[in-house]
C-alpha cells in the first residue's frame, strides 16, 4: 500500500516534470521571435527587447534555460505575466479557488447524478428505465457544454430570473456547476452502467444470489462496492475532464477562474501566463489523480493489502 502510494506519487512527479519540459519547449515553438511577439509593444526599443531577452534568459541555450526555469520554479517563481507584469503564480492562485469550487461542485453533481443513473440503468437492464437513461446519457454526452450553459442561462437567469447572473454569490455557482456537472454526469452514467453490468455478470454476484441474500444486500454489499472500484478509478480522468471543461464553462458564465484566465492569456499571447497555466493545470490534475488512486486503493483490498 505504502509502496503503491509512493509509486503513484512518483508517477505524478514524472508528469509534472514532463510538463516543465513541455512548457519550456513551448515558447521556442512559437514562430518568430517570442520576445518581440510578447513584449514588442509600440514603445519598446530594440535595446529594451534585448534587455528583456537577457532578463528572461532567452539568449541562453535551451538546456540552460530549462535549468534556470527549474531553479526559479523550485522557489515558487513562475515568472511574471506580460499583461500587468505580475507574478504568474499569484495570479493563478487567486483565480484557482473559483475553478476548484466549480470543479468540485460539478464533480459532486456528476457523481451523484451520473452514478445513480448508471446504476439504475444497469440494474434495470433492458427495461424502459435503462433505455431512457441511456438515451438521456448519450444526449448529454453529445450536448456542447457551452450550449447547455447558454440554454440554462437563457432559461433560469434571463427568462425565469430564478438565479443571479453575476456576482460571487454561491447561487451564481449553480448554473455553471450544473452545466459542467450534467454533461459529465452523462459520461459517468455510461461508465457506471457498463461497469455495473460487468459486475452483475460476475460469478461472485451469482454466488451472493445463490446464498439467498436479499436483493439490497446483493446490490449494495456485493455488487456496488465492487462496481465502485473501476468507476472510482475513472474519477481521476473525470476530474481532469472537468478541469478542462471548466475552461469553456467559465467563459460562458464569466466565472472568474483559471480557465477564463487561460483564454485571456491566449488572446493576449501572454506566454509566461500560458506556460504557468499549463504547468499548474498538469500539477493539479496529477495530484488529483494521486488522491483518487489512493481512494481507489482503499476501496480495493487487492491493492490495499499488497
Amino acid at each position: 500500500m505504502g509502496k503503491f502510494i509512493v509509486q503513484r506519487f512518483l508517477a505524478a512527479l514524472v508528469t509534472i516534470w514532463i510538463a516543465t519540459i513541455a512548457v519550456t519547449i513551448l515558447i521556442h515553438l512559437v514562430p518568430g521571435d517570442p520576445v518581440r511577439i510578447m513584449y514588442g509593444s509600440f514603445q519598446t526599443t530594440p535595446e529594451e527587447l534585448e534587455a528583456i531577452r537577457v532578463r528572461l534568459g532567452l539568449d541562453q541555450p535551451i538546456w540552460r534555460q530549462y535549468i534556470m526555469y527549474i531553479g526559479r520554479l523550485l522557489q515558487g517563481d513562475l515568472g511574471n505575466s506580460i499583461v500587468g507584469d505580475q507574478p504568474v503564480l499569484d495570479i493563478l492562485l487567486t483565480r484557482f479557488p473559483a475553478t476548484l469550487s466549480l470543479t468540485l461542485a460539478s464533480l459532486a453533481i456528476a457523481v451523484v447524478v451520473g452514478m445513480s443513473l448508471g446504476f439504475l440503468a444497469a440494474y434495470k437492464r433492458g427495461t424502459w428505465v435503462d433505455v431512457s437513461s441511456m438515451v438521456l446519457a448519450i444526449v448529454g454526452v453529445s450536448m456542447p457544454h457551452f450550449w447547455l450553459g447558454l440554454l440554462l442561462l437563457f432559461l433560469f437567469a434571463l427568462q425565469l430570473q430564478w438565479l443571479p447572473v453575476a456576482g460571487g454569490d454561491w447561487r451564481s455557482l449553480i448554473l455553471p456547476a450544473m452545466t459542467l456537472g450534467l454533461a459529465n454526469a452523462a459520461v459517468l452514467a455510461r461508465l457506471t452502467r457498463s461497469a455495473m453490468i460487468d459486475i452483475f455478470d460476475q460469478d461472485f454476484v451469482r454466488t451472493a444470489r445463490a446464498k439467498g441474500l436479499p436483493k439490497s444486500i446483493v446490490l449494495y454489499r456485493h455488487a456496488l462496492r465492487s462496481g465502485l472500484v473501476p468507476v472510482v478509478s475513472m474519477l481521476g480522468l473525470q476530474f481532469a475532464y472537468l478541469m478542462g471543461g471548466a475552461i469553456v464553462v467559465e467563459n460562458v458564465f464569466a466565472w472568474n477562474g483559471v480557465g477564463r484566465l487561460a483564454i485571456e492569456a491566449v488572446f493576449a499571447r501572454d506566454y509566461p501566463l500560458i506556460q504557468g497555466f499549463i504547468l499548474f493545470f498538469a500539477t493539479i490534475v496529477a495530484l488529483a489523480s494521486v488522491v483518487i488512486d489512493v481512494a481507489y486503493a482503499f476501496l480495493d483490498p487487492r491493492i490495499r493489502y499488497s
Binding site: R125, D203, T207, A210, K211, G212, Y305
Partner: protein, 580 residues
Amino acid sequence: MTPEMTQAPLLSVRDLTIAFGKGAFRNLAVQNLSYDLMPGETLAIVGESGSGKSVSSMALLGLLPPRSATIEGGSALFEGKDLLHLPEGEIRGIRGDRITMIFQEPMTSLTPVLRIGLQLTEALVEHKDMSKAQAEARAKEMLELVGLDDPERRLKQFPHELSGGMRQRVMIAMAMAADPAILIADEPTTALDVTVQAQILDLMRDLKHRFGTSIILITHDMGVVAEMADRVVVMNRGRKVEEGPVAEIFSAPREAYTKKLLDAVPRLGAFAAAAAPRTVVAQPKQVSGRLVHTSGMNKTFRESGLFASKSTGTAAMQDVGFDLDAGETLALVGESGSGKSTTGRAVLRLLELDSGVIEVDGTDMRKLGTNAMRKARREMQMIFQDPFASLNPRISAGRLVAEPMVIHGLSSGKEMEDRVEQLFLRVGLESDHIRRYPHEFSGGQRQRLSIARALSVNPKLIVADEPTSALDVSVQAQVLDLMLELQQSLGLAYLFISHDMAVVEEMAHRVAVMRRGRIVEIGPRQAVLNDPRHPYTRALLAAVPVPDPGRTRGALPVIDAATLPMGALAEVAPQHQVAQ
C-alpha cells in the same frame, strides 16, 4: 451406498423446459427434463458443453439470467413446493439455506472486496437468524471442517489472499454451513489442479456423509462421476439421454451417445502395458536420431515498469533440460504454474531464456540471428491450447493454413492451392472449408485447422501445448487419434504438454514431470507412469480420478511440499531420472 428406492424423492423435476431468446431466436436449452433426487444421494448430471446441464440446475434456484432465459414449462417439487413457480421472496428463503450451490470458478466466485468472514456469515445471519457472534462461531467451525488452518485469521482475509483450492474450500464451507438438504455442485473441481481436485472431492464425500446432504453434481468428467455419483443423468443437447445407477451406466450403457462418451474418455492405465503409443498406420515412417537437445534452461519473469525493482520475479524454469528424438513424443506434465508451457515456448524461442542451451538438429537456436531464426522455424511448429484464440479471426482458413508456406516461400499459385486442399483433407476437413473464416468452425475443427497449418511446412518437431484440453472428450479422442496418425506417417516429433495423465499415457513415448519450474522426474512412459519414483509423480498419479465406479481411488498420499526433493536429476534406472 445405494439409496432406498422406496423412499420419497427429495426433489422431483418434471418436464423442465428452458429457452433462451424469443421469437425467431428462441433456442431450447433444456427440453422436457425429468429426474428425481433421493435423500442422501449424489446425482451426477453429465454432458458435454451445450448439453443444458448447468442451465437446468440454475433454473431450480431461480438463478437464470433474467430477461434472456425463460422457463417455459415443468415443475420441480421440493418439500411440497414447486421451486419453479415460487415467488422471489420464497425461493430466496430456500436458496442458500435448504438448497445451496458451489460453482466452477473459485477464483471469481467470492466477492473480492469483502472479507471471507462476512461472506461466510451473511447467509447464516439472513436465514438462520443467528447473531453475528453465533454465525462467526459457526463459520470458524466450518472452516476447520473443510480443512483450513487458522480459521480465526482466514475470517479476516480477503479472497485474493487465498489459493484456488482454499477458495473452493471456503465456498464449500459457505454452502454447507447452513446444513442444506441439497448441494448443487456445478463443475466444482474443473478449474483445479488434479491433486487439489482429489482433495476437494474427498472433502465433499466426507461432508456428505457427515451432514447427510443430497448432492447434484454437474460435471463433464466421467472420472469424477465414477468416483462420486450414486446415480447418473446423461444429457445431450438439452435432453436427457439416459438415467441410471452409476455402475449400470458405466458397465452397460443403453444409449449410443453414452457409449460413445464413455469410449472417448481416456483412462489412465489403459495403455500401461504398452511401451509406446499404439500404432495407427500400416507403415509408420521410420526416422531416428536426436532432434532436440536442451540443457540448463533458466527463465525468470520480472515485473516490468518504470519503478519495478529488478530483484523480484518468479522463476518459471530452473535448470530444465531434456532430449527428444525424431519421431518421438516427449510429454511434459505438471500442474498449473509448473513451467511446462514456458518450456515449450522456450524451445521454439518464443521467449528468451536467461541461460541454457537449445539445439535443434544440431543447431544452437539461441545463437541464431533474427532472420536465421525465422528460417529455422520451418522445422518446428506449434499447436496451441485454445483453438478459438490461436487462429487470426480475420484470415480465411485457407490463407491461415497457407501462411507458413508463404512465409517460408515454399510454394505459390496453383501448387499451393492444391497443397492447402490436400492438407485440409489430410486433417479431416473438407475442401469447401477453405474459404471459411475461423469463427465458422467448431472447436475440434479449429484444432484440426491448427494442425494443418503446422503441417504445411513439413516440420520435424511440433510443440503441442494442451492441444485438447479445451475440447469435449469425444472431440479430444478424435484429435488425439489424428495426431498419432500424423506422427507415425510423417515421422513427427511431439513435445506434448499436458496436465492430463491419461492423455499423456495414450500419447507419450517418454514423460517428464514438472513442478515449480523444474523437471522432477523424466523417463520412458512405463518407467514414469507405472513405477514413479518421485513422491510428487506418485501423488499426481494417485489423484487422477478413475472413470470406473468399480475401482476406487486409493488414499491420497500426503505430500509435504517442504521436503519434496527438488534437486538435480539422478538416474535411477536406464534413462529414468529423478530429482534428488
